[in-house]
């Protein structure tokens, strides 16, 4: 039996090495750029990195990224001046756009649609409204000369806190252990296709057996509505607190949102208080083609084109008004 175990282990090890090699040769696993916390305590990517983002098995989505000098994924450098006409897009992974070639981003599509405009994409995976306003606040000098700032916001995700604090969980991804694990493209690939989920679920099951969680209470519809309302109030308070703390120029700032997943309570507040927003829901509803990728809910090329169109239409309407 010793021979069988030893030989199996040897084969296992050699197959792992061969698979690592094959995953690298066919570039099946994604490259992960390094993140940093800069002097302004703003979390972003280490400037000037390049690589390929891969989604799903068999490279269903393969795209190149380019982290510019400012630490964001974009084909251009961010050099705003008073003379030029600039628009900044600030948001999370949807704006960051690792699922597209950096030279075919939402910003690029807007630039194609409106000649002479420069679009700066300040997108970073996980950025919520606190991250966004804190970034603008810290880089005030740059943002003050940008003509329009558009902030992507998802009501259910992005207003969970009323003050900016560094998200240590995300930065923990840069721990020496994680960096070491990321060196194995095979491991990165396996994680991305969900093959490592069953072991994680098993650990969770074992944890639950050893430490049973308290039985979940059944909540009736009335209670659900009350909790939902409570949450909405809290999120709105967070919005107000962030706006008060970091500032919000209603003349230049515009929110980008999907009214289908935004609370009416919040929308009526925005309308009442004169916060401008672009609602891209009608663009998505009209589209006959899918707007998201196969493997995750990020926008595909069609989705990004529609987002770019909604922003372009908005900017054009502003210019007409002005």
């Amino acid at each position: 039996m010793k021979k069988l175990i030893l030989k199996s282990a040897l084969y296992f090890f050699m197959i792992l090495i061969s698979l690592e090699l094959l995953v690298r040769v066919f570039h099946l696993g994604k490259d992960t750029p390094t993140r940093i916390l800069d002097d302004h305590k703003v979390e972003k990517w280490l400037p000037n990195q390049q690589g390929f983002s891969v989604t799903g098995n068999r490279r269903q989505n393969f795209s190149e990224y380019h982290i510019n000098n400012s630490g964001f994924n974009s084909y251009r450098e961010f050099t705003p001046t008073k003379d030029k006409y600039e628009v900044a897009l600030v948001g999370d992974s949807f704006i960051e756009g690792f699922h597209q070639n950096y030279y075919n981003s939402i910003g690029k599509k807007i630039e194609t649609s409106i000649p002479g405009i420069e679009v700066y994409e300040y997108g970073y995976a996980g950025y919520d409204f606190a991250d966004q306003l804190h970034l603008i606040y810290e880089y005030k000098e740059k943002f003050e000369v940008i003509d329009h700032v558009i902030l992507g916001i998802k009501f259910s995700n992005d207003l969970t806190r009323g003050e900016y604090k560094v998200v240590t969980g995300r930065l923990a991804l840069e721990s020496p252990m994680n960096r070491l694990l990321k060196k194995s493209k095979l491991l990165v690939y396996c994680k991305s296709i969900g093959i490592l989920d069953p072991p994680q679920r098993l650990l969770y099951r074992l944890k639950n057996i050893l430490n049973p969680p308290a039985p979940s209470k059944t909540i009736d519809e009335q209670e659900k509505t009350r909790l939902q309302k409570e949450k909405e109030k809290k999120y709105l308070a967070n919005f107000q607190s962030l706006v008060a703390k970091y500032g919000y120029d209603k003349n230049r700032f515009t929110l980008l949102l999907d009214s289908r997943i935004t609370s009416d309570y919040f929308l009526s507040f925005l309308n009442k208080e004169g916060f401008r927003y672009i609602d891209f829901s009608s663009y998505f509803e009209k589209s006959k083609k899918s707007t998201t990728l196969i493997y995750d809910r990020h926008w595909n090329d069609n989705g990004r084109t529609l987002i770019a169109k909604s922003i372009s239409d908005y900017i054009k309407s502003l210019d007409t008004m002005e």
Binding site: K3, S8, L19, L28, N57, R58, Q60, I193, I195, P198
Partner: protein, 483 residues
Amino acid sequence: MLFNSLDFFIFLPIVFVTYWLFFKKNLQLQNIFILIASYFFYAMWDWRFLFLIIASTTVDFFTGQLIHSSTSDSLRKRWLWISVIFNIGLLGFFKYYNFFIDSWIDFVNIFGYEMNSSWTLQIILPVGISFYTFQTMSYSLDIYYKRLAPTKDFISFATFVSFFPQLVAGPIERASNLLSQITTKRSFSYSQCKEGLKLIIWGLFKKVVIADAIAPIVDDIFANYTEYSASTLVLGVTLFSFQVYGDFSGYSDIAIGTSKLFGIELMSNFKFPNFSRNVAEYWQRWHVSLSTWFRHYVYIPLGGSRVSKLKSVRNIIIIFLVSGFWHGANWTFVIWGAIHALLYIPVFLMGRNRIYMNTVVAENSWFPSIKEILQILLTFSLITFSRVFFRSESITDALGFLKQIYSNFGFEIYEHPLGYRMIDYFVLLVLFVLYEYQIRRDERSPFKFKSKIVRFVAYTLIILAMLLFFDDNIDRSFIYFQF
């Protein structure tokens, strides 16, 4: 516990190492350990149904002894009937009760009597019941026909009934093969274990890469057949042929491979049926353990082919209908069986049902002849046609599916329901068929290459394919578990 789950990949090494490390010198302890492991394996699905296995085991253990010790034929027959009625009763209640009630209500409704279905029950079908009841019955039948002496060792017999590698989906073993191995001292064999591991890898490939990858396409086409044209429907049922083959033969390979790890050889269940040159050969290669069971315990007792042609044809119809019904409590399976009977009978009447018994396609050459290619394509097409009934939820759906092929005859480019590239699947299937053709002479040695390097490359590519086609979101259970 599924063979393609993480639970099994933790369970198997623990059981394997414990078995050979601590119990290799004592057969009784080996069997007790295997029995406990098997019950644990089954209990992971639903422990309540363990009692059914234990009941079936107990009844057949004692009836077997009583059949053997009875001196009069009538008494022997009586004990046999007790075994058969008990096992068929279990099967009838858990698998067919609701079907019979619903069919009766439908029948009565035809004559204008209105009946509601208050008699139907919420019954869970115990996994593997069709397999282990047939296995225990074969034991009693073999004793009755004096082919076998009963065992006096209950543990060995219980291990034979519940041996975990083949408990839930076969191969359906006969006591003369499996029980005799269980009652014989087993010692560790490096080469046997090595062969077992190879079969496990190959079975996993067939399940994870072939069956599971195709499943969403087949599900989509059969669920929305009214929206598709003929080319897509033909594609759907053709892919289903590969899916069900990959699924069930993959399971069987893992079962046979796992058994080898414990020093036990199970019978082959699939012998490359897709290369069959006529329907008779197909049934010598597809789900061999079930067709052998029906041949031994139904066809031959009815007279087999040693009676008049007419009676032989009747016997063929009976076994195919029963075989269809065994697969599931739905008229679609009965129709599926009937189609196979209709396909088999002409082959039988022409005396061509045994001509390919011990040969494979292109026996002495690299490539098949044009005639063989045409025969294979015709057989595959006929079998695939019958699978419309096998896969459809109801006869109405199956007929609707076929009508749609006829009425919406045309070609369209099918797009994967989740947006994946279809070309990947076509390339995969072509490579799979070519590889199976290459290894067609021995279903138990999928990696029979002289060169170690070639073998290593094959393992690596097989595992790479699993990584390329793995999808955590799909239902990974085996199709034959529902039977």
